[in-house]
Symmetry: C2
Subunit: 182 residues, 2 copies
């Protein structure tokens, strides 16, 4: 890739990160281009769709997910606490941008989605939590990581849309946790 192309790509990602944080997932893409100091054509050449751009933004986020899972898994204690702690972490991780939870959760399980890799990162991390709990025989049978992601993602999507705060989300997560624990 030519040096100028590489520079513009980086600028676009940086600008998009800013704009999406400020205005949510629906922000104007032309605004992103303007903020990056490039033409609209350049943006669309690098990122043919909003989703592809989204995916690029989230590169660094993958590491964050894995670190978060590490941190949660170190914690010793009741299975219920572990599970809830992962749920809250999960909600935090997918709620970086307005509209993010819905976007991510609806892509969950869709192999053709432009953000598959991100979903896989999330399910893999969740799977680690599931494995740990299953080793302790703390989970009911037939609980799959994808289902967990969908349920918790659904809560996050609702919370995001309705601007619920953490205190309102907590009891919802508790219900899900209790529904999954043995």
């Amino acid at each position: 890739m030519r040096a100028d192309a590489q520079r513009n790509r980086a600028r676009l990602i940086e600008a998009a990160r800013e704009v999406f944080r400020e205005q949510g997932y629906d922000a104007s893409l032309d605004e992103v281009a303007k903020r990056a100091g490039v033409g609209a054509g350049t943006l669309y050449r690098h990122f043919p769709s909003r989703d592809v751009l989204m995916d690029a933004i989230m590169q660094s986020w993958v590491d964050r997910v894995n670190d978060a899972a590490d941190k949660v898994l170190v914690h010793e204690g009741e299975p219920r606490d572990l599970l809830l702690s992962w749920f809250e972490t999960y909600v935090g991780l997918i709620s970086m941008h307005k509209g993010g939870p819905a976007k991510i959760t609806s892509a969950m399980g869709d192999q053709k989605s432009p953000i598959v890799t991100k979903c896989q990162t999330l399910t893999a991390a969740t799977q680690r939590v599931v494995d740990r709990l299953e080793a302790e025989h703390a989970l009911r049978e037939h609980i799959e990581a994808v289902q967990m992601c969908r349920l918790v993602g659904g809560v996050a999507a609702v919370a995001d849309n309705a601007n619920l705060d953490q205190t309102a989300v907590r009891p919802l997560l508790e219900v899900i946790a209790d529904g999954m624990l043995a």
Copy 2:
């Protein structure tokens, strides 16, 4: 209201019902106006926003919700079956249009939303189910109807977005039910 205004209002609702069913909640409003055979101005005078129009469409739906609750409550049997049966009914009721579940669920609890009345209808119906289960001491404590609506609505929203079918939704609802039952 003048006779022509009344007629146009009815036509608009009819057209919107059609168009939304065909194209989902994001369908063009100008298309709705065209289909109704009126100008865009007329549409926006009657229904200043998409939500207000949505609300009008759902008038008949209110009766349907109450009927559905009646029907579910007659059913004798295990509390778990009752609850699951209401959940499935609920999902069906809010999934009439694409994008509907998210729209409705995110308005849940927002007193200023244009579709408050619809949300109230839903929570009231859900409350009846909660009351019944509480009378049988089948529910955990501190379970509120709004929470139930949010959780089930979250699942419905995800299912709607990801085009999940009923067999994929069922286990999610089971988890919620199990998390709420004593």
